[in-house]
Amino acid sequence: MGVKLLLEKAHVEGIRSYEVYRREGGYRSVEKALKTMSPEAIVEEVKKSGLRGRGGAGFPAGMKWSFIAKPEGVPRHLVCNADESEPGTFKDRYLMENIPHLLIEGLIVASFALGSNDTYIYIRGEYAWIVDILEQAIGEARANGFLGKNILGSGFDCEIHVQRGAGAYICGEETALIESLEGKRGNPRIKPPFPAIQGLWMRPTVVNNVETLSAVVPIINMGGEEYAKIGVGKSTGTKLISACGNINKPGVYEIDMTISVEEFIYSDEYCGGIANGKRLKACIPGGSSVPILPANLLLKTAKGETRYMNYESLSDGGFATGTMMGSGGFIVLDEDQCVVKNTYTFARFYRHESCGQCSPCREGTGWMEKLLLRLDKGQGKSSDIDLLWDIQRKIEGNTICPLGDAAAWPVAAAIRHFRDEFEWHVTHPEEAQKRNFGLAHYADPIHVPVG
C-alpha cells in the first residue's frame, strides 16, 4: 500500500460532515497556518514541497503563488478550478463528493497565503449535486469559525462562493474560466497580462485545480520538505489517477508516483488487469489530450526501461515514443478496441468544445472530425491520413490557448503509432465495418537499438 495523503480518510463513515472530519484531524492546517505562519512562510512551504499543478499542466504551484501582484488597495482573488472536463478525468469530482472539507480547508489556507477575502470555486455545470455538497461544507466551516470575519482571531476575513459553469470544456483553461466567472463566453484571453497580474475583474488572481488546493493541507501539516520526500525526482507527493476504459476496476486511486505503469494496470490494488481476460492494446494515461501509446511503449520506454507513473517517466522519449502525466485521466483500450474510432470521438469532442476564436482550431477541429469519421466508416482515402497529419501540424502552437494543442496531439499520436490501422481502414473498408483491426503487433516487445 502506498502513501495516502488525500484519500486516507475519504471512506471514514460520515466524513462529509464537519464533526467527523474535524474529529479525524481536519482543519489542523488552518489552525497552524493562521496562528503560527505568515502568508509568505506558507508560500515558501508550498515551494519547498515541489507540488506541481494537478490540473494537467504540472506547473509548480508555489511558484505560481509567488507571481501574484500586490498593488496597494487592489483586492486579490483565489479561484478554484473545479471545471473538470478532460475526457478520462473524474478525480476532482471524487474528492469533492467524498471529502469536501479537505478542499475547503485547503482553500482557506491558500486564501490566507494569497490574501484573498473572496474566493470562488468554479465548478462544471453538470456537477449540480456537488454544488449542494460544497455549500453544505462551507456553511459548516463558517458556523465553526473557519470562514467569515476574523478567522481564529487572526484578523483574516474569508468567504468562499461556489459558481456553476454551464457546459464548456474550454472554461477549464484559466483565462476562459475567469471570463466565464465574469458572466461572459468562455473565450481565453491573450497572455500577458497573466492572471497573477490582471485576472478576475482585472485584479491579481491565482487559479488552481481542486486536487492542487487539497494537497496544500498535508503540505502544511507535515511541512514542505517532508512532502517532497514522497515520490521521486520532480514528481513529489501523491497524485490522484482516475482509471477508466477496459479494466476490471475503474475508479480513482491515489499513488505516490513510484509505481510502474505495469503494476498500476495489473495489480489488484489498482486497475486489477484488463477486463474480460483480454489483452492490453493501448492507453492514454493523462486525459484525452495526451499522446496515446501502444502497449509495448506504455510499459517500457524506447530504451527498454520500465515506465513509471510519474511526470518524468511518462514523458520519457518526448512525443516520439512517450506521453504525459496530464490530468491523470488514465484511459485503457483492450485488444478489441478501434484506435480510429476512439480518436474520432476525441476529435468530435474538441470540435464541439473549440470556442471558435482562433481559425486553426475552429476550422481544423472540424476537418479532423470529418476525416476521422470518413476513415472510421470505411469511406476514407489513403491521402486522408496525410491530410489529417498536415492539419494537426497546422493547429499545434497556432492558437491563443492550449485547446488547439490538446486537439492536435491525440490525432498525431494515433497516426504516429497506429498508422497501419488507419491504412487498413482504407484498404479493407468493408471488413473494417465488420471486425476490429485487433491487437496487431502493438503488444510485441519493442526492438531496442544497440549502441
Binding site: E86, D118, C244, P250, S288
Partner: protein, 166 residues
Amino acid sequence: MSKFSETQLAEVKRLVARYPEGKQKSALLPVLHLAQDSFGGWLSTETMDYVAELLNITPIEVYEVATFYSMYNLKPVGKYLFEVCQTGPCMLRGSDDIVAYIGEKLGIKPGETTADGLFTLKTVECLGACGYAPMMQLGKHYREHLTKEKVDAIIAECTKNAAANN
C-alpha cells in the same frame, strides 16, 4: 411571460451579492440556470430579455452567453432530458449501444423529443463519469453503469412520475 417569484428574486439578489459592486454580470450563468429550471427547462428570447433587465445588462450580453454554453436549451425540450455521454471512455464501454437502445425504445433519434413531450434524447460530450460508464445525465443527477435493463427501469420510473404528477 413568466417572472421569478419573490423567493427566486431573493435568490438572484443573493447571487449578485457575491460579487463586487457593479460586477453583477458575474451572476449571469447562475441566474440563467435558475431561469431555465423555473421556466420549463429552456430559455426563450423573452426569458433572456427578462434576465438582462434583472441584471441591468444588454440583451445581447445574455444571448452571447446562452448560445455559448451547451447546458442552456434554446428550444423546448421534453419533461425528461436524457443526455447520454458518447466520448471515448464511454464509447469504450458501449455507449453507442445505449444511445441506439434508448432511441429504439422511445422511437426518436438523438436531438428529438417524443410526441407526448415527455422525453428528449441528446448525445453529449464527456461529463466526468468515465469510470462509471456508460452514463447519462437526467436532471440534476447522473445515472451510471447503464445497461438495457437500467434504461428500461429509468424510462418506467419517468413515465410513472409523469403520470403521478398529472
